[in-house]
């Protein structure tokens, strides 16, 4: 009986929930770091440098994060496949009754979009060359590399990249807008009084995450087309 616990529906959902909450925690930490992009280039560059200097600790953290993603994705897909199998034939007509909403119904799709975008995002920034050609910003005071800041700046002055990024973080916000209250219900801390409040809070948090992340590329492209990088 012992090892069958993991297979039980509720346990699987609780593993999804806990890994999801860890990912939300990461989203906040990452966002806090990204706020340095509103300051001068040195801010984010020194921050990135400090992270690099952590060496093995950084790698431990990266591996932990990758594992969290792997657990979250594999368990959600497992659960989603089982759910599909549990329905024998579709209803000819299906009509919601006001329990569910768009974010809830699209969790698998928003999740998969996040996973796809994540790969793009990592290859662009995390594993991109922080000192190469692409980090030199035209029109800056210096013709030298602006480091990670330069890389991000050059990327976010391209309108299509801004659009893709804003869409991606919108999807993240949508995912979180269901995810946060779902986490609390799945672990069993909700009741009739707090659930409606949690749903609202969850939507607000989702919105804040989306707005917080979206503000950065929008700030950069607006600045590029107005006062420019130098001022």
């Amino acid at each position: 009986m012992g090892n069958s616990v993991l297979k039980r529906s509720i346990m699987k959902k609780q593993i999804v929930a806990i890994s999801g909450l860890l990912l939300i925690g990461f989203l906040f930490a990452h966002l806090a770091g990204n706020m340095l992009l509103f300051g001068p280039p040195e801010g984010i560059n020194e921050y990135a440098q400090k992270l690099q200097e952590l060496g093995p600790i950084l790698w431990l953290f990266r591996i932990g994060l990758a594992l969290t993603f792997a657990v979250h994705i594999s368990f959600t897909l497992w659960v989603a496949l089982e759910n599909r199998a549990a329905r024998s034939g579709r209803y000819a007509v299906s009509n919601d009754r006001g329990g569910t909403d768009f974010a809830t119904k699209t969790m698998v799709y928003s999740g998969l979009l996040i996973a796809v975008y994540l790969l793009l995002h990592l290859s662009d920034f995390a594993f991109g060359d922080h000192y190469g050609e692409a980090t030199i910003v035209a029109g800056a005071e210096t013709e030298e590399s602006l480091g990670l800041y330069g890389l991000i700046w050059n990327s976010f002055i391209q309108p299509w990249r801004v659009v893709v990024y804003v869409f991606a973080v919108g999807v993240v916000g949508l995912h979180v807008s269901h995810g946060l209250q779902s986490f609390i219900q799945t672990l069993g801390f909700a009741n009739d009084d707090v659930l409606p409040v949690l749903k609202t809070v969850s939507r607000i948090v989702g919105l804040l995450i989306a707005l917080g992340y979206a503000a950065i590329p929008i700030y950069m492209i607006v600045r590029h087309y107005t006062i420019g990088i130098g001022a």
Binding site: S9, M11, N83, A85, A86, R87, A92, G99, T186, G188
Partner: protein
């Protein structure tokens, strides 16, 4: 004066569990708005029989909303659109003259279709049989006041006990999950002193049985609560989730 309406019914017809099934269209003329949904089906069936056709099979018993036998999905909603109403208590005055109604059975792997709108819900019975009971010694009933029950617990337990096991929660859930049903059966006992001795074994056994029967996992859509004719709350699912979590930890600690 009695008012009557005419309806078009698109009804799922399936001769037996192996049959692929299909929709058939029937005109339901001169239906009294005072009739219940099941009485409307009775009228249609009498006409079908007079024409020498096979009547539409549907489940029913009490016809007063307490037994849990009736149920079908009407235009995509379990028991129809009316809140907190079983199909037998749904009245035809809720429909308009000329409406088209699509009538389907509960669709869940764990509830095989027997015939037309009748599904086999014995999976629910097997879940109850696995652990949804308490063990008591027979004999004289003890004096009621020797076992104290806090008022809020009594209320919540009673609310959970209102579940009639109709299966609308499974029918309405996008994942065909039975969590609302199981959580009601867990909660009605977990909230009372009599349910305590077997509480932690019960939750693990019943959840295992629920999974084995092929119901889906809960994704917190909360469609079950919205569809439940007895207004069973998803807070029961939260209780089931935390009881199951604690029961699993407890089992590990005890070895």
């Amino acid at each position: 004066m009695e008012k009557t309406i005419n309806l078009t019914l698109k009804v799922w017809r399936q001769a037996n569990p192996q049959d692929a099934g299909r929709f058939e269209v029937y005109e339901a003329h001169d239906i009294s708005t005072d009739a219940s949904f099941l009485e409307m089906l009775d009228v249609v069936n009498e006409r079908l029989e007079r024409e020498g056709k096979e009547p539409i099979a549907f489940d029913h018993d009490c016809r007063e909303g307490i037994c849990g036998m009736c149920g079908a999905v009407i235009n995509g909603q379990a028991h129809g659109a009316e809140k907190e109403t079983t199909l037998c208590q749904l009245h035809m005055r809720k429909f308009k003259n000329g409406d088209t109604l699509v009538i389907e059975p509960w669709r869940s792997k764990a509830f095989p279709i027997i015939k037309d709108l009748v599904v086999d819900r014995s999976a629910f019975d097997r879940i109850i049989a696995s652990g949804g009971y308490i063990t008591v010694r027979t004999g004289q009933a003890p004096e009621a006041h020797t076992m104290l029950v806090p008022q809020p617990n009594a209320e919540k337990s009673f609310d959970a006990a209102a579940c009639i096991g109709c299966g609308a929660c499974v029918a309405a859930c996008p994942n065909a999950s039975a969590m609302l049903f199981v959580s009601a059966k867990i909660s009605q006992l977990a909230l009372l002193p009599q349910g305590q001795p077997e509480r932690w074994d019960r939750v693990r056994i019943m959840v295992e049985k629920m999974d084995e029967e092929g119901f889906g996992n809960c994704s917190n859509h909360y469609e079950c609560e919205a569809a439940c004719p007895k207004n069973i709350k998803v807070s029961n699912i939260a209780r089931l989730n935390r009881d199951h979590l604690w029961a699993s930890i407890r089992a590990k600690l005890r070895g």
